[in-house]
Amino acid sequence: MRVVLRRMAAWAPGLETPEAWQGWAAAPAPLRGDGVPDARFLPAMLRRRCTPLSKILLKAAMEACNDEERSQVRTVFSSRHGSINESVGLLENVARAEKLSPAKFSHTVHNAQAGLYSIATGNRQASTSLAAREDSFGCGLLEALGHLERAPDRAVLAVMGDVPLDPVFARLVEEPACAYAVALQLATGGEGPGFTLRVAPNPEPAPVPPWPPAVEFLRHWLVGTERFEIPTPRQRWCFARS
């Protein structure tokens, strides 16, 4: 199935404009883990409760849509770790038999960013939040394709991102620790370049990549690679421009 990439946006510390990303794609280097975007695009009420991950994902999400599209797209939020850093504090409370904060609890659900996005933009469309370890980006795209299957006339905003994992768990996970988000607005038709996606099992060992798969996709896209493959420990994600 071919999808049209109508609009895209990305954010990482120090890489906050399309020009900065073009420069990065020409000479890529590992991303930083520290920093959050200014979230003045959100109403003060929502901003106050926003975690670093929420600010980053919402920043990219907002920029991948124009004013009209924001409230009309279906959304897929994909993140390997989601709000687990915020859960750590609550888990420590639980371990000490302390009471939990209701607001903190509400913002540790994996779909916190989807909920915030819906409230901030008045969006009443379908939304999925998901995780798939190293395959979170690819599976987020499959879920976006699923939304296009269920509602072919409506664009889907697929957002992927993470922040570095809390030190208590970080030593258990081999991955590029960085803060980033990539947002792709996808549709079944209309203007713009597109791609096809194929997925197959990966029988080979996959080394830890220098940056996350979503950012690798972005790099290939920005430098104009026609066909590329992003391997993970379980899968090979094969992209072709069309």
Binding site: M1, T75, R80, H81, G82, I84, L90, L91, E92, N93, V94, A95, R96, K99, L100, S101, P102, F105, S106, H107, T108, V109, H110, N111, A112, A114, G115, L116, S118, I119, T121, G122, N123, R124, Q125, A126, S127, T128, S129, L130, A131, A132, R133, D135, S136, C139, L142, E143, G146, E149, R150, V168, F169, L172, V173, V199, A200, P201, R234, Q235
Partner: protein, 390 residues
């Protein structure tokens, strides 16, 4: 279909308890929240052990999934042989993943500065549930975990259908698992959402949730015989992180879209399984939405007062209940799970029809059921399942 929850760990034991509205399987736990005893729907049976080669995934939530997966082992093996491992995908839902094991690991860390040795991050991260499921089954297709709070399990089934319709998979194992833990019981306590009595959905005396745990899994294929997932309806609320829109607009949209998708006239629905949490707000908005979409003649029930609100697993477990009554229908007449409550109607709620014990739906050639799941963060999903009788 396989499932495990407070009513039991196999369909033959579960069905009579479901149809009797048996609340005797709920239990009281004092170890979940400080200074409070909670009525919960806990699994009574011993859960299976995770095989040694998958030890990194060994947590209660994955054991819960495994108890359900073992019930569909034979049909999954046949589907794998027929379609090949890479054509079988996995879509699971959860809101907790292995949090109950992470709580133990963190306590160990506080005492010794090391996480418990048996703990692996794959138990806690949401994606771990789908990867464990795929690894145990031998499925090599795409595997991911949906976590949209209380609609996760329903969404997993919707996604499974899309993966098959798009030709990305020939078979998908889809479902959900959730485990009672300090985090969710403490969080809902902090939100003042838990009831001191057994939850009492749609009653004037209702005062909140009873939490539960469990898992349900389905083998989803493109076959056109048998029970069909014929309709999916989805919406977001754009309202509040932890409270539904009191007008029930999101719920209404999800129900209408699901019926349209199925090509099913609302008046022909044989049974609707409600989200029916027993919180003051849910029941107001859901009865309003049901009244608008289905009217006042179609039998409805909430099964949450039998097994508790199993959060991320609820959509899958309730789909499993509707699947089970479709499967056991005789001559097109469905046995209906009764609405478990104290029978005291709330005059403030729309007077939708609540199924009574022993009730059967009128026989029909096309038996249509509907199941509602409405999640935290304003994420709604309604499924329509149906079976045709010659």
């Amino acid at each position: 279909m396989g499932m495990v929850h407070a009513l039991g760990d196999e369909p033959e034991a579960i069905l009579p308890r479901l149809l009797a509205g048996d609340q005797s399987r709920l239990s009281t736990r004092s170890d979940l929240v400080p200074d409070r005893a909670l009525i919960v729907g806990a699994v009574h049976e011993t859960l299976p052990e995770i095989p040694a080669e998958l030890a990194r995934f060994a947590c209660r939530n994955n054991a819960m999934a495994l108890a359900a997966l073992r019930q569909i082992e034979a049909p999954v093996a046949r589907a794998l042989a027929r379609h090949g491992a890479e054509r079988m995908g996995v879509v699971m839902g959860t809101s907790t993943s292995g949090v109950s094991d992470a709580e133990v690991a963190i306590r160990h860390h506080q005492e010794t500065s090391e996480l418990a040795p048996s703990f692996d991050y794959a138990q806690l991260e949401f994606g771990g549930l789908a990867e464990f499921t795929a690894a145990w089954l031998g499925a090599q297709g795409p595997a991911f975990t949906i976590s949209t709070a209380c609609s996760s399990g329903a969404r997993a089934l919707a996604t499974a259908r899309s993966l098959i319709r798009m030709g990305l998979c020939d078979a998908v194992v889809a479902g959900a698992a959730d485990t009672l833990c300090g985090l969710t019981t403490g969080g809902f306590t902090a939100l003042h959402a838990l009831s001191d009595e057994v939850s009492n959905p749609m009653s004037r005396n209702r005062c909140g949730l009873t939490l539960g745990e469990g898992a349900a899994v389905f083998l989803v294929t493109g076959e056109e015989s048998g029970i069909q997932l014929s309709g999916v309806g989805e919406s977001s609320e754009a309202h509040h992180m932890s409270a539904p829109d009191p007008e029930g607009r999101g719920a209404e949209t999800a129900m209408r879209e699901a019926l349209t998708d199925a090509g099913a006239p609302a008046e022909e629905v044989a049974y609707a399984n409600l989200h029916g949490t027993g919180t003051p707000l849910n029941d107001v908005m859901e009865s309003l939405a049901v009244d608008k979409v289905l009217g006042r003649d179609i039998p409805c029930s909430s099964t949450k007062a039998l097994v508790g609100h199993t959060l991320g697993a609820a959509g899958a477990i309730e789909a499993a209940f509707t699947w089970l009554v479709l499967d056991r229908a005789e001559a097109g007449a469905l046995p209906l799970p009764p609405h478990a409550w104290d029978g005291e109607r709330d005059p403030e709620l729309a007077p939708i029809r609540l199924a009574v014990p022993g009730e059967r739906a009128a026989p029909r050639e096309r038996a249509i059921t509907l199941s509602n799941s409405f999640g935290f963060g304003g994420n709604n999903c309604t499924l329509v399942m149906e079976r045709h009788f010659a």
